[in-house]
Symmetry: C2
Subunit: 340 residues, 2 copies
């Protein structure tokens, strides 16, 4: 893998935190935020309203940061990361909008969800607008390889959403099928962010593959931690109710692992709590959390997440030492250490 090494940028000494990473790309992220808003301008009234609501609602901008940092790592100095940050962020946001309709979620990012505020109809249609606008941005930029990368990711993403729907309330789901779902619904798009960066930087095919693989591993870790936080986070930090997956029948690794290790009596309790969700949801969550504690289900899931993050970092360590490499390493750590 010596070809992967390329001397670029100054070596970096002090370990970086995620806040440092964000601070280091603050002006670029501001450009992305401005472009997100500009691309939501439309003479159709509801679109800017919902668009601004979503764009200002924040989110961690992990995908734009990945597009930017991987492109800079590969020596790209231009501004096309702005367009492609909008592409991936719009696709991601469209998915959130449609997810909230599918799950009838009322809360997202600490406020009422778009469907709670404007109705399911508006959320479905504005989600479609965001998809359309992504395609429009891709067409305007007109890079066949990026269009291909994003289109592959988008097909995976929509398949992942359908798979998740099919697997609802299936306690017997295997860890393998769970990993397949999170690859499609999360890791594929995050991998494509890193691939876009590599393409922007005209990286060698070997480096492009390595960065895509880095993104894939970060994506797995990201979703595994999301699924842990859904059980363990504080609602106020998470910006949405804890225990959501339990309520909605979304069977994720903590529950899969618990159900695998549970005794017959416990299995019976889990089935009753899960499949006949009467009584108060907090009480149910407490019982499940106790069992997860006993069987180490959260630790097990976090271990998988850390393993993916370590694999991501190992790939990146083969690259030349640089500021952007360090920032990406910190991002991989942040993904597993975050509390929201």
């Amino acid at each position: 893998m010596s070809q992967i090494l390329q001397r670029r940028g100054a070596p970096f000494q002090r370990p970086m935190r995620f806040e440092d990473v964000v601070e280091g790309v603050r002006s670029e992220l501001d450009e992305v935020d401005n472009a997100l808003l500009a691309n939501l301008e439309s003479d159709v009234p509801l679109i800017p309203a919902i668009g601004n609501y979503l764009a200002r609602g924040g989110g961690k901008r992990v995908r734009p940061i990945l597009v930017l940092l991987t492109s800079r790592l590969c020596g790209y100095e231009g501004a096309r990361y702005i367009t492609h940050s909008c592409v991936v962020e719009f696709i991601h946001t469209a998915t959130l909008l449609h997810d909230d309709v599918v799950d009838s979620s009322q809360v997202r990012r600490g406020g009422p969800s778009a469907n709670a505020r404007w109705g399911n109809e508006a959320s479905v249609l504005v989600g479609d607008y965001l998809f359309a606008k992504s395609l429009w941005l891709l067409a305007a930029d007109s890079d066949p390889r990026i269009i291909q990368a994003v289109s592959n990711a988008t097909v995976y993403l929509s398949e992942g959403e359908v798979l998740q729907l099919i697997n609802e309330f299936n306690l017997a789901a295997s860890e393998k099928s769970y990993l397949d779902v999170i690859y499609r619904k999360t890791a594929a798009l995050i991998a494509s962010c890193c691939q876009i960066g590599a393409i922007l930087g005209k990286a060698s095919s070997e480096r492009e593959q390595a960065l895509t693989e880095f993104g894939r591993n970060v994506g797995y870790a990201f979703q595994l931690v999301d699924d842990v936080l859904d059980y363990t986070a504080k609602s106020e930090r998470l910006g949405k109710p804890v225990g959501n997956d339990l309520t909605e029948g979304n069977v994720t690794l903590p529950l899969i692992h618990l159900y695998r290790l549970a005794g017959e009596g416990e299995k019976q309790t889990i089935r009753e709590l899960f499949l006949e969700p009467n009584g108060n949801p907090d009480g149910r969550l407490q019982i499940i959390l106790e069992m997860m504690k006993k069987h180490g289900a959260i630790e097990y899931t976090m271990k998988q997440a850390r393993d993916y993050a370590e694999r991501a970092k190992a790939i990146l360590k083969k690259f030349e030492t640089s500021h952007h490499q360090q920032a990406l390493l910190s991002l991989a750590d942040y993904v597993v250490e975050r509390e929201q």
Copy 2:
């Protein structure tokens, strides 16, 4: 416009009916149908099920026929019309799926709608899959100008859907704003079908613009007639309940024209029937239809449709006489004469 003329194909004598047109492209349409099904294959179970249901459900395949005929008119002899027929048909079908969710429709094309059969969740997500697959097909074909044409149409389409939602139950909507909605939600995609044909046939920019304009006019006519049929057709022929727009608060030209001409007492009745839809829907439809008859609202709308179709035909008549030109002229006639 003499540059537009190009001698191609044999002159055609006998006036063609739409059935003749379809019969003439039967083998190409079969190829399109096969490709639609092949592109709906997925290892995710629900996707082929819903996909096949939709693909076999028929529909008139007006968009694929337009892609094919305009490409052949411009001398294209290859098979890329198959890919692009799938692109436009998937985008169209995704819109139908999401429309039915937005309107809570139970019936489509003479059978239960996909959302009635598989639920709103599946319809939203499979619609997203169809959008994603369109992007994927565009990426695989990789023609920047076609990608641009489709992306413009898709943005218009999603804006049109949002505009229609905003205008719901607005009896004071103007004819101008109605025409703007139907341009975006229907005519823009149909225009892009003809533009794709021109691009496939490497037509001159003048011919490409003329064919796009032809498609735009056909698209207007198509939607105007759709909106008439929603009031006047027989349910069994239409494949969905008549009077749907009235029930759903979708204010189309027949109602706009009626409300414009109605006296104060009639306006009051219309408002009551429309905004407080108690009582039986058939009775309500009958009262509205009587008033439309009195004020010539259906005739007025049909007149607009015929005008658009005539404009479309006038554009096409500047092209050289050929079998494909005749077929496209027949299609423009069919759009206004059809009963379903």
